[in-house]
Amino acid sequence: MLASVADETGQAESRREAGRARETAAGAPRREVRPSPRGGRYRDGVRAVAPLVPAVLAFGISFGVLARAAGFPGAASLVMSATTFAGSAQFAVVSVLGAGGTAAAAIGAAVLLNARYGPMGLAAAHVFEGGRLRRFLESQLLVDESWALSNRGGRFDRHVLVGAGALLYVGWVGGSAIGVAAGDRLGDPATLGLDAAFPALFLALLATQLHSRHAVLAALTGGAIALVLVPLTPAGVPVIAATAGCLVGLTRPARATERRRAPRAAAVARETSS
């Protein structure tokens, strides 16, 4: 799958056909797929994120179940999944309100958790196209997974972000609806180890980025900041503060970075062919 994410050059038609069959079977949203001048396609995003759909669906279901148990009207759970579309913040609201916390505490925790989408959106801002309305709508498909998958060796691909984000949106909102409807008759996703799928995904995506010393330094700094802050700050702050790891980019002249672009591109090409 990683290979398909890193694919800049296009693949054999037979593999595309296989991908199409899988998408249809998985109930992916049908959209007009057209080749892009920059190489990416919506379908690439759908294919890249497909392995995560069971986990996202399961977490959507558990959100619906937990929200209902915490006294959320069904409509409130669905409106939240459709507008917030960010698991950790939604779970935070449910757990704060469920434990008797105030609305202010719940809102504060959720907004802190989602503040990371500020820097993420800024990093990917240049790939969005068209007028403000279109940018606005497509930006709503920004979630950790779609953002991370659409980052191909340091450059973002709008088609992958939108394709992956759309399938994740369907899975998340659909899962929430199932959870609200089915109540607690469903099991805990942790039993299936699904909570361990997400760090593994992020590590695999991080690995594709570590082709320069800067990137390794930024990752180590970001990870260390997050771990140090976990016991000290409210949830959400560690990840936002970790963004500061990008400041290691100030430490070197431009030429050093440019030179390293070439080996990084070669490494992406190697992954593609393997």
Partner: protein, 101 residues
Amino acid sequence: MSAVWLCVLAVGLATVAIKAAGPVLAGDRDLPERAGRVVDLVAPALLAALVATNALATDDRIVIDERAAGLGVAAVAILLRAPLLVVVIAAAATAALLRAF
């Protein structure tokens, strides 16, 4: 308005605005090269933080549990150049097996 609906609407509006801010406002503008290099490094820094917090944090504590074991197996799979699907399944299966025993 109930506390639930207040939270749903406030968090929804805030999140929509946060997600849209970069793509709508920064848009097509090219960043200065130095700023561009810094923004390029947002991804590895944030990804590493997501790995760390998703694998090791439970509320405000650092916890080494089945997720960490799954992450270790995932790291081995990544070093062996396994496809993403295999990496993700290996991590989930490791955590599930450890919890089953």
